[in-house]
Chain length 296, copies 2
């Protein structure tokens, strides 16, 4: 797609594209599965979500001159891992949340046991896609995704979060937790997108890593702000949960004004990090702005 | 190891070997992770379990002339997937079982949320191992494991099992369910072990597939018999659960004597299938006997 297309058009096109890839990956043809389980998986994945992680993968691919065709599977895989984590997060034994992406949570719609299995099966499906993709061989895409999703990444961050209820984390601990909980999969999205190019330099990889680290943290800070300032309708999930659960957040530790300032600084840091890509970094830069300025 | 070593010695040596591989894979050095989460993962994996799946991977490798060194990662990966499935199976929203492998279930020992995350992280860890292994590239080990674990395999079988409470499955439906629920990962164990050899013929693969299909079903039939005839102490989990939950089993549909006969027939079928490997199939043949005759 031409680089003079406005961000709103580009992002809508990519969101539609990833929706198609995900629908195909979860179709009964590509994934023969018991009807109710497959329904629960599709319910949790399709037709909603901002697709931030997929957009990051596509934008990173563009920055390093890779084709979107080579990124579809990775972009879908990170969205599947994200969707599975939301299903499990919403379960009664975790955050016990009944609303997600503006509709009843998966376990409310399908029951806890089916939701648990749907999450498990979505994680497996993500690895099937990565393994089938052109990225699946040679450069460790499978390991990259596994480490980002697992105990040293997302699941590890969730475990720290569990123990943090009661406001026991300070700012550096909170930052470290989010670096794992949301940051690891955001970094993986950018790295997997970039893997599609064989022409990357080490400087390219370092620039993308700095970008991903900054926007990963900015994303979480804005999430915390929206949890306080947003409405459940606008953010598509229960607002005010963090305070109700006495969870430490960037807002509880810094105040909303200072948290907002930090998110903006991180957004600028992210943009500077990718300056080396020149015009090719346009979508990454626009995504950084979008992440900082988003209202949901 | 020499092929004249008795099965009991061979299997004990391989069990110790896989224990070491698993302990290393879950060590804080190989897997930096929050302490409590890592503890829960190790608790659920290490120091117990028959390691049937790992033994099958090693035995299949032997049949096709592959080195055990090339199979360690795959053998560990199938055990990690199995262990994660047991954690999630035991959760209150699933089978709600408080005893596993002779000790309190993971969620009893660590709480439901940590157990859920430990299972999730173990699945991811399995794919990290597969991706890092020599099998990780080229022959689709990642896809093979993902399909076996996911909605078309193990998780799909569990979903059918969920809906089956109340005795609604007939024999062919029950067989189809177990072909997914336990059979898929048993077939994957054999196939991953064999992947370590590049010298396999299509006949070899077909023989291994027939073997794995037969012993997968035999394994489940014996499980059903032990659930009725065993004690909780001997089988290391709550006995009599199937009848208490009004679940259809091979025993409830066939009676214990006929179920036993079928398991023995399947054991013989498995042994005939691998005759083409000659002496190299010794461990596979012994495993077939062990699976049929086991008391736990």
């Amino acid at each position: 797609m031409h680089s003079d297309v406005p961000f709103a058009v580009w992002s809508r096109e990519r969101q539609q594209r990833i929706e198609g890839v995900l629908a195909e990956a979860l179709s009964s043809k590509a994934m023969p599965a018991p009807h109710r389980l497959a329904e629960a998986m599709r319910y949790a994945v399709l037709g909603a979500g901002k697709r931030v992680r997929a957009l990051l993968a596509y934008a990173a691919a563009e920055a390093v001159g890779a084709d979107a065709d080579d990124v579809d599977a990775a972009a879908a895989a990170v969205e599947l891992v994200h969707a599975y984590s939301l299903i499990h997060d919403d379960l009664p034994c975790m955050d016990d949340d009944t609303v997600r992406r503006g509709k009843p949570s998966c376990h409310v719609a399908f029951g806890e046991a089916t939701a648990l299995l749907a999450g498990d099966a979505l994680q497996a499906r993500a690895f099937a896609l990565i393994g089938q993709s052109r990225l699946g061989h040679g450069e460790g895409a499978c390991v990259l995704l596994a480490d980002a999703a697992g105990a040293s990444g997302m699941a590890g961050g969730q475990a720290i979060d569990l123990d943090a209820t009661g406001g026991s984390l300070d700012l550096s601990e909170l930052t470290a937790m989010h670096r794992m909980k949301t940051g690891a999969m955001i970094r993986a999205s950018v790295r997997l997108g970039a893997l599609a190019s064989k022409r990357r330099s080490m400087d390219d990889d370092a620039a993308l890593e700095a970008y991903a680290t900054a926007i990963g943290l900015a994303f979480q800070i804005v999430d915390d702000i929206l949890d306080v300032e947003g409405t459940s309708a606008s953010i598509g999930k229960t607002a005010g949960k963090d305070a109700a659960n006495d969870k430490p957040t960037f807002v509880s530790l810094l105040g909303a004004a200072e948290a907002r300032k930090r998110a903006e600084t991180l957004g600028r840091d992210a943009r500077s990090a990718i300056a080396i890509f020149g015009k090719r970094a346009r979508r990454l830069a626009e995504l950084a702005d979008w992440i900082v300025l988003r209202k949901n």
